[in-house]
């Protein structure tokens, strides 16, 4: 594998950080959108190396964290109805209203942890007498593979495969955050892998409307410090443009093939975000002609609605209004063994990242 060492180079990282210290004259708040970026910032100890004037705010880009409680309860209900539920790994420990998928598995549910939704299609093929549901969670990054699984199932003539969709989109979330009167974001590091699929044309209007620099940024230490440097440089120069730091993976138009697959299977619809609430046109829903593959329509689960835990301030954390440590439950009633909310579960969640890697 290439590019493991190159972007973790001490000298190169230090040179940019030194430069960053030189150009920073004012206080700036920069939000990294993606949970993967949060994880890398904390894991590599980058936050301590930044100038005091730079405050990183951890954004909502952790797919596990923004998946509403309702959806988790629905997946658990499916498991208990005897459906084979397939899921990405970090979803399984997220607490639903009563239990997590992992606990439902221990009670006898047939839960499979997969790396690719296409494996779920194979499972459906191998188990023709059973229903198989893939828990299709994620941002634009996972949407192509999830859409492709539906196309594969359709091509194979499978009638026992469906997906429980919880797909959310980055740009509407950025606008919702910028519109919140309590948030104070000066610049964004956009999620590199989302942009690898979608490109970054849709970020220009946001940058213009809200006068914020948006830097398409990767995930390695060098990517992140360079992304922060580009953001601060623009802010100090009073500019607000979309700039691509992650050129080795991201093209302006994104991945056209992947976008076409998404377009074929999904359309834009309203989505509920855990801790934030419903954001109009902020996610994907299956197109009408694929409704046979929609687990919410196929199974009787639409009645499941549950309130969030009142003690958890995940919404404020996801919008960057509060830091995890500012939560009264952080590290006390809420920790990775007993998470009150999703950001404490996923390694990409801001709360878990702070819990694991920061000095408490």
């Amino acid at each position: 594998m290439k590019y493991l060492q190159e972007y973790r180079n001490y000298e190169a990282t230090k040179a940019i950080i030194d430069e960053l210290h030189k150009i920073t004259t004012k206080k700036w708040s920069i939000m990294e959108i993606c949970g993967g970026q949060t994880h890398s910032l904390v894991k590599n100890g980058i936050l301590d190396l930044l100038p005091e004037n730079i405050r990183m705010i951890h954004g909502p880009g952790c797919p596990v964290c923004v998946t509403p409680l309702n959806l988790i309860d629905k997946a658990i209900e499916l498991l208990e109805q005897g459906v084979i539920v397939c899921s990405f790994g970090d979803m399984i420990r997220v607490p639903g209203s009563k239990k997590s998928l992992l606990e439902a598995k221990a009670n006898g549910g047939d839960l499979r942890i997969l790396y690719s939704p296409l494996e779920a299609v194979s499972i459906a093929k191998e188990n023709p007498t059973k229903e198989v549901v893939f828990f299709a969670v994620g941002f634009e990054t996972t949407a192509p593979a999830n859409a492709l699984s539906v196309l594969h199932a359709q091509k194979e003539g499978l009638t026992n495969y469906s997906i429980l969709v919880s797909h959310v989109l980055v740009p509407p979330a950025m606008e919702a955050i910028l519109d919140d009167k309590f948030s104070s974001i000066d610049a964004f590091l956009a999620a590199g892998h989302v942009c690898a699929i979608m490109g970054y044309q849709e970020y220009h209007p946001i940058s213009k409307k809200y006068k914020v620099p948006i830097i398409i940024t990767g995930f390695e230490p060098l990517d992140l410090v360079q992304g922060i440097y580009f953001a601060v440089k623009q802010l100090e120069d009073k500019k607000h443009e979309v700039e691509n730091q992650y050129t080795r993976a991201v093209k302006e138009e994104g991945n056209k093939t992947a976008r076409a697959v998404i377009e074929q299977v999904f359309e834009i619809g309203n989505r509920e975000w855990r801790g934030i609430g419903e954001i109009p046109n902020s996610g994907y829903v299956l197109r009408e002609n694929f409704s046979d593959f929609d687990a919410e329509k196929k199974f009787n689960i639409s009645h499941i609605k549950v309130p969030e835990n009142e003690l958890c301030i995940a919404g404020l954390v996801l919008k960057g209004i509060k830091k995890p440590m500012e939560c009264s439950q952080f590290g006390k009633n809420c920790n990775p063994s007993n998470p009150l909310g999703a950001p404490m579960v996923s390694s990409e969640g801001a709360c878990a990242a702070y819990y694991h890697f920061s000095i408490i």
Binding site: M1, I113, Y115, T142, S337, S347
Partner: protein, 340 residues
């Protein structure tokens, strides 16, 4: 009707205590492990050991039972041998108990037995008592093995977390995360092509050499198996109420293993090892002990990865490659692969 052990699979009869059990034990187990203790064919064995005795037990439930670089049998020997060795002892005797799910192929069982014999010989330990049970299909997962090991504590050894002092150096013998990633690469649904092989091996000869040469200057041994290096260091910091600092740059990690961890979204610090141990030693012997370790095949990559400090008691701080710092916290549950 005569039944011989060449019938294709293990069935409930093999664990019934009757004729089939006797045949299996006589023709396979006693024959393979042939030694005066076992040949007594008594309910247990009587042995002689000098001085303080160390004892350790472990159960092995790994899936798949055959993996690149080994199988559940040699793992069951090495795992317990190493645990006894980490007490500063010279492992001598092992018990060996099987819980077999009916339907296990007899050839597989034979291969496991052969591996156990080879691993025991290599470690210089003898199997002196054992047990075989067979459970119905669906009540186990092919084969589970429990081994218990005993040995005499090395006369010069004084291994205890109480002996760990500020300024002590932390030395590791080999690359981390090999075993866990070898297993992951073969798990159902996760197959990816790699040449990563498990690092399972016996460490007792190396630890003995180290104790022979440095005695009580070695303050602590520990093998980070499940939970990986990160979890074990965290436990040690908590046990001795001191701080630990480690350097990410110095933690030995093979390129291919690092890449596999990246692909699967796992942190190598929390991936299991089977042939890795850390020694926490007096600062004065740092260079000499590393040199001695490097002369052994199981210590070729020996290197200092960190030290014990007075700051941040009970916590492990990692200095990242790029010059940052972070806390190494214990693993909670299993490491879960990330979504994207």
């Amino acid at each position: 009707m005569s039944q011989n052990i060449n019938s294709e699979t293990i069935n409930l009869g093999h664990g019934s205590g009757g004729e089939l059990t006797r045949k299996l034990i006589d023709e396979l187990i006693f024959k393979t492990f042939d030694n005066p203790y076992l040949n007594e064919k008594h309910d247990g064995s009587i042995v002689q050991l000098e001085g303080k005795i160390a004892m350790s037990t472990d159960s092995f439930v790994i899936s798949p039972i055959f993996f690149k670089g080994g199988n559940i049998g040699e793992l069951a020997v090495n795992g317990t041998v190493n645990d006894v060795a980490m007490c500063g002892a010279i492992p001598k005797f092992l018990s060996l108990a099987f819980i077999i799910e009916e339907g296990l192929k007899l050839t597989d069982f034979k291969n496991i037995i052969t591996s156990i014999k080879l691993a025991a010989d290599k470690s210089d330990v003898q199997i002196i008592t054992g047990d075989t049970k067979v459970v119905e299909r669906g009540k186990g997962d092919q084969i589970f093995i429990n081994t218990t090991g005993i040995g005499s504590v090395h006369p010069n050894a004084s291994i205890s977390s109480k002996n760990i002092k500020i300024g002590d150096k932390i030395i590791i013998n080999n690359n981390i995360a090999q075993h866990g990633m070898a297993i992951m690469s073969q798990r159902e649904g996760l197959q990816f092509e790699s040449d990563i092989v498990s690092d399972t091996t016996n460490l007792n000869h190396l630890t003995k050499k180290m104790l022979d040469a440095f005695g009580n200057k070695i303050h602590f041994f520990r093998d980070p198996t499940r939970g990986g290096l990160g979890s074990v260091l965290h436990e040690i910091a908590n046990d001795c109420h001191l701080g630990i600092e480690i350097s990410e740059t110095h933690i030995p990690l093979e390129k291919q293993v690092a890449a596999a961890c990246e692909i699967l979204g796992l942190d190598p610090l929390y991936v299991a090892n089977e042939g890795v141990f850390i020694a926490i030693v007096d600062a004065k012997i740092e260079q000499e002990i590393i040199q001695l370790m490097q002369e052994d095949e199981n210590g070729k990559n020996a290197v200092k990865i960190g030290e014990v400090v007075s700051e941040h008691p009970n916590k492990v701080v990692l200095h990242s490659i790029i010059g940052g710092k972070r806390i190494v916290s214990p693993l909670v549950g299993e490491q879960l692969p990330r979504i994207c």
